[in-house]
């Protein structure tokens, strides 16, 4: 029994009362209480929590622990307000965080302090045989300091298990309930009105197969709008790149829903909001391109021959300064009257009573039928386009780009309606599609990056020797990217063949085809 046990105090019970009760029964030595101030950190999308980890900050020291707080995995210092994995010095913490949080920044979830009072239970030799610690957590929440959690921690001393059992039994008789160590993590966050794991970029909409298509589509759109509005205020703060990314994904999904779930809304509104959401996309395209580019800085440097490694510096300097301007433009654009009005009108539209109208003939149909039709139509198109590419000697790049867009639309549709289909079959098909998307995505990225480099070469002021060398370095990068792109294009045939294999085709048909139940 070398493990620590935790107990909750009943609400009407307090530290002093417990101390009195213990003292009547045991010989106690009370240590001086200690006060520890801390903050809890995680990424906006709870990446550490999902791995059952928490990051505790004390002054500028960060400690990676399990949720129970019983194990320290790594520690390091950073003075950043929103540190990234790469802000920590090379070492265990840096290494462990990198694959988990990737490009996301760490943000403070809640700050507070823990007051620990340790009672030692002594035997007749005045030897400590059990340690009892009362930990009281208070958090600084919006409404001021609140008591978040009180727990009693029983630490046995090795070789004195019998005594630990006696004390545990005594606490049990007093009415203290045992509890999991992780509970205090959730209690602390809830005291600050946070629910662990509450935000996710993944779309999870629950639809009933018999829902009217118009209503179901509004439900999907409302979930997307909610995600979009959660991320929007953080974009201007520039904490990390993923707020913009998630915002843009919601915008794209909304546009796909508007164009692919056909004839469920009146034509005029559909057209108007398609236009509106294109505006959000266009507004943020360049900023996202710059982000992608800057996130890959190390990759690009590694692509260059070592003699050129530093010649690329002016390019990144240029991108950084350019990004600062573009960010301001995007922030202004999002804060503008126009944007506010779009979001207001959209919200009003999504929350109004659904009315049947002649130019939305699908509004009243069973959503399961419409979903099946929409997905299968899109799927057949993907297969047809892919076959055309395969049969061509040397297919133009544009065809692959178009196929990528079609795949994306198919993927979004499958995600919107996931709740209407058997999870297992659906998951399998999504996995297959994802492989194809990864291949097309890489091909597209490589092509976009080349265009972007050309754009930089034109945009950069070519005045000094430095920038001339940078242009040479750009040339070298383009050559490498082009090689990789050709390779990716060669891979397409195999990847697509797997996706469009006969068993996979029949799976799609079974799940989404005509006559599927």
């Amino acid at each position: 029994m070398n493990n620590v046990q935790y107990f909750s105090l009943p609400t009407e019970y307090d530290r002093d009362q417990l101390f009195q009760d213990l003292r009547e029964r045991f010989d106690l030595l009370v240590e001086k209480p200690s006060l520890a101030q801390w903050s809890l950190y995680d990424t906006f999308d709870w990446r550490l929590f999902h791995r059952s980890l928490k990051l505790v900050r004390v002054a500028d020291d960060f400690f990676l622990r399990d949720l129970a707080g019983s194990r320290d995995y790594a520690a390091a210092s950073s003075s950043q307000q929103f540190p990234f994995a790469w802000d920590f010095p090379n070492g265990a913490l840096h290494e462990q965080l990198t694959p988990i949080i990737d490009m996301r920044a760490l943000m403070a979830l809640v700050g507070g302090e823990t007051r620990s009072t340790c009672f030692r239970v002594l035997n007749e030799d005045e030897k400590t045989v059990v340690r009892l610690t009362i930990c009281e957590d208070a958090v600084a929440a919006e409404e001021g300091i609140t008591q978040a959690d009180v727990r009693v921690m029983l630490q046995p001393v090795r070789g004195y298990d019998r005594e630990a059992r006696t004390v545990a039994q005594f606490l049990d008789d007093l009415g203290l309930e045992t509890r999991q160590a992780e509970e205090s993590y959730a209690a602390i966050l809830r005291a600050n009105n946070l629910e662990p794991g509450s935000y996710s970029a993944r779309l999870a909409v629950k639809l009933g197969p018999d829902n009217r298509s118009g209503d179901a589509t509004r439900t999907i759109m409302r979930a997307l709008l909610e995600n979009l509005e959660i991320n929007l205020p953080y974009i201007a703060q520039d904490i990390d790149t993923e707020f913009l990314h998630d915002f843009r994904v919601s915008v794209r999904r909304t546009r796909t829903a508007l164009s692919q779930i056909k004839a469920v809304f009146p034509v005029a509104e559909t057209e108007r909001f398609k236009e509106d959401f294109r505006y959000f996309g266009d507004l943020s395209n360049l900023l996202r391109d710059l982000d992608v580019y800057l996130l890959k800085e190390d990759v690009y440097r590694a692509m260059l021959p070592s003699s050129m490694e530093n010649d690329i510096d002016p390019v990144f300097d240029f991108l950084h300064s350019r990004r600062a301007h573009v960010l301001t433009e995007v922030a202004n654009g999002l804060a503008s009257q126009k944007s506010q009005k779009i979001l207001r009108d959209w919200d009003a539209f999504l929350n109004q009573e659904a009315m049947d109208c002649p130019d939305a003939p699908n509004a009243g149909r069973r959503v399961a039928d419409l979903a099946r039709e929409s997905i299968y139509r899109r799927y057949r198109r993907v297969v047809k386009e892919g076959d055309r590419i395969l049969q061509h000697e040397n297919p133009p790049d544009e065809w692959l780009h178009a196929l990528r867009i079609d795949c994306k639309k198919l993927r979004y549709l499958m995600e919107f309606f996931a709740s209407l289909f058997p999870a297992k079959g659906h998951r399998k098909l999504v996995q297959q599609l994802k492989r194809l998307q990864d291949n097309l995505g890489d091909f597209n990225d490589l092509s976009v990056q080349q265009d972007f480099l050309l754009w930089i070469a034109e945009e950069m002021p070519v005045s000094s020797v430095n920038s001339r060398r940078a242009v040479l370095a750009i040339g070298s990068l383009i050559a490498t990217l082009d090689q990789r792109q050709r390779k990716e294009k060669k891979n397409f045939a195999g990847t697509f063949a797997a996706f469009a294999s006969p068993p996979n085709r029949s799976r799609f048909k079974e799940l989404y085809g005509k006559g599927a139940s």
């Binding site: 030692r120 030799d125 030897k127 090795r158 070789g159």
Partner: protein
């Protein structure tokens, strides 16, 4: 894991006091430490307020029965556990000698603790016999307290001869000066000459001090109840020197 044995073939040289205080300081520095009381007098066990088991079964050390990890007791201090002395340790040499591989017994007993502790401190009985050989075989470092007397240099030579005769060159022998009374002229002079005549004498000197005697009454390591005393500082200096010179950590 490093095994550090406080060893001397003479009694009353401050061995146990050094073992207890060094083990405590090691644990304070963050090392997961186990102190093994191999001395039948069981003073180290007493200092940590642990009752020695008086049942005649040296569990896991010389006879079968309970494995060693069931016998280990936590002390009152973080990172510091104790393997209590045992009544039957008095018979250690007999029970060791009566077995095969009688010299590797202690090593094998300590082996399962590899991952659990960074440092094991052995407090040994003042003998040269099979128990001593077991201790020598199990240790990475022997730490020998020397009192500045005319005999101490000779006793130390005997130990070194014994080590040579047993071909025990896997263990490193280091001495430190113990119970040095600065008021005695002879102590001062001998203290100097010891450092010249014997190789590998540490610089730190543990003084003869009543505060060390008081450990028996307080049942606590010196730094706990007399942190500001000269003796406590001397043990801290000695620990720092051991960390730097023997454990390779500055």
């Amino acid at each position: 894991m490093t095994v550090l044995a406080l060893y001397s073939n003479k009694g009353g040289v401050g061995k146990t006091a050094a073992a207890v205080n060094l083990a405590y300081l090691a644990a304070q520095s963050g090392k997961r430490t186990l102190i093994c009381d191999l001395d039948p007098q069981s003073s180290a066990t007493f200092y940590f307020r642990v009752k020695p088991r008086l049942k005649a079964s040296a569990r896991g050390l010389s006879k079968g029965g309970k494995p060693i990890d069931k016998s280990i007791k936590g002390t009152d201090y973080d990172n510091l556990d104790l393997l209590p002395a045992d009544f039957t340790h008095r018979n250690l040499d007999i029970s060791f000698a009566s077995r095969k591989d009688s010299l590797g017994r202690l090593s094998r007993v300590l082996d399962p603790l590899q991952d659990e502790y960074d440092l094991i401190v052995l407090d040994s009985p003042p003998t040269i016999n099979v128990v001593a050989e077991n201790i020598i075989a199990a240790s990475d470092h022997l730490l020998v307290p020397l009192i500045p007397t005319t005999l101490s240099v000779r006793t130390h030579e005997q130990l070194m001869q014994f080590m040579d005769s047993r071909k025990r060159d896997t263990v490193d022998v280091t001495c430190f000066r113990s119970m040095v009374d600065r008021r005695k002229k002879m102590h001062r002079e001998l203290s100097e000459s010891i450092a010249e005549e014997i190789d590998g004498v540490l610089e730190s000197i543990i003084p003869f001090a009543s505060v060390v005697e008081r450990m028996g009454i307080r049942r606590e390591p010196v730094p706990v109840f007399a942190g500001r005393s000269k003796a406590a500082q001397a043990y801290r200096d000695l620990w720092a020197e051991i960390e730097e010179k023997l454990l390779g950590q500055a």
